[in-house]
């Protein structure tokens, strides 16, 4: 029963994302036989080192979606691409004690909002709580090098 609600909701979101896709975002289930596993492409935001790049991520939805948030992970070129962003945290737990409830996951959020949030995260990484400590250090201390590295990876990601 619960998973029918989830499936219905995911299908609905899939349809919305297809008929009215946000700029620079493509997302949908890898196969409609499993609505709980999606892949998404996000374009690198302009005027950032990610500009021009396309980033693929997988989204895994729990059976009780949208009560619980999905998990999101970048795939391809990243050592550990698990996305850690407040919108993916359930409202109950706040490991960092600085997120407002409204910034965390709730059923009125959506895949689209997650992807847009992630896009803006690329533009303004938060080095307070980095997924990749080394990258965050480089970002803080050697910005030019960081940006060059990102640009290289962007090209690599496109097979160039």
């Amino acid at each position: 029963m619960a998973s029918t609600v989830a499936q219905k909701r995911l299908f609905h979101e899939y349809k919305n994302l297809s008929t009215n896709p946000p700029e620079g975002i493509t997302a949908g289930p890898v196969s409609e036989d499993d609505m709980f596993y999606w892949e998404a492409l996000i374009q690198g935001p302009e005027e950032t080192p990610f500009e021009g790049g396309v980033f693929a991520a997988e989204l895994k939805f729990p059976r009780d979606y949208p009560l619980s948030p999905p998990t999101m992970k970048f795939i391809g070129v990243y050592p550990n691409g698990t996305v850690c962003i407040s919108i993916l945290h359930p409202p109950g737990d706040d490991p960092n004690h600085y997120e407002h409830a409204s910034e965390r996951w709730s059923p009125i959020q959506s895949v689209e909002k997650i992807l847009i949030s992630v896009m803006s995260m690329l533009a303004e990484p938060n080095d307070e709580s980095p997924a990749n400590v080394e990258a965050a250090k480089m970002w803080r201390e050697r910005r030019a090098e960081y940006e060059q590295k990102v640009r290289d990876e962007v090209k690599k990601g496109l097979g160039l």
Partner: protein, 187 residues
């Protein structure tokens, strides 16, 4: 009419009248009491606070007002309200969730990840999605079959195909753009 049906006499007409009277009276009474009941509920503000509380706990983002409004409209059914929220239709139905939320409206999200500076191994998108053939073909050809971006098919396979095409196009377009930029830089 009574000429053709002489058997229709006064007593049977009376009986019919009486029976219909009771049937009609019963019918209207029932409606009235139902209507009266719901009116009473509406006027007396009587969305049960416990129900509001229950929903507010599940969905802390929603304002109490919206919850009460929705509950009142559907006659106090927590299940109906929950279902409506869960299916993403939004509470007030002024518009659905999507149109209420242009990108600028997303809650100011605390981001908690520095974009990871990636490591080198690994698969690029071209090989991941088997696009090398398409990547080589001349851009003009690709552009000519420009995607009708926002389509939705009733057919499952068709939808799958459209999604795949949008994905491929996005990657290939980015690749082309990047190549042009590189050439520009090189000159």
């Amino acid at each position: 009419m009574s000429d053709e049906e002489p058997s229709l006499n006064i007593p049977s007409l009376l009986t019919l009248a009486v029976v219909s009277y009771f049937v009609i009276r019963w019918f209207f009474n029932r409606d009235e009491s139902a209507a009266g009941g719901s009116r009473g509920r509406g006027r007396g503000n009587v969305v049960d606070p416990a129900q509001v509380e229950q929903i507010a706990q599940m969905f802390p983002q929603l304002s109490t007002r919206d919850i009460m409004w929705d509950l009142q409209r559907n006659g106090g059914s927590v299940a109906a309200t929950t279902e409506r929220i869960l299916t993403g239709r939004g509470l007030l139905l002024r518009s659905n969730l999507r149109s209420q939320s242009p990108p600028t409206n997303i809650p100011p999200t605390q981001t908690a990840t520095a974009a990871s500076a990636p490591k080198a191994d690994a698969q690029d998108l071209i090989s991941r999605y088997n696009l090398s053939a398409k990547a080589e073909s001349p851009p003009a050809e690709l552009q000519s079959e420009a995607p009708s971006k926002s389509t939705w098919s009733q057919n499952k396979e068709e939808r799958q195909r459209i999604l795949q095409k949008r994905r491929d196009d996005m990657i290939l377009a980015a690749r082309r753009k990047m190549m042009q930029k590189n050439q520009g830089n090189a000159q």
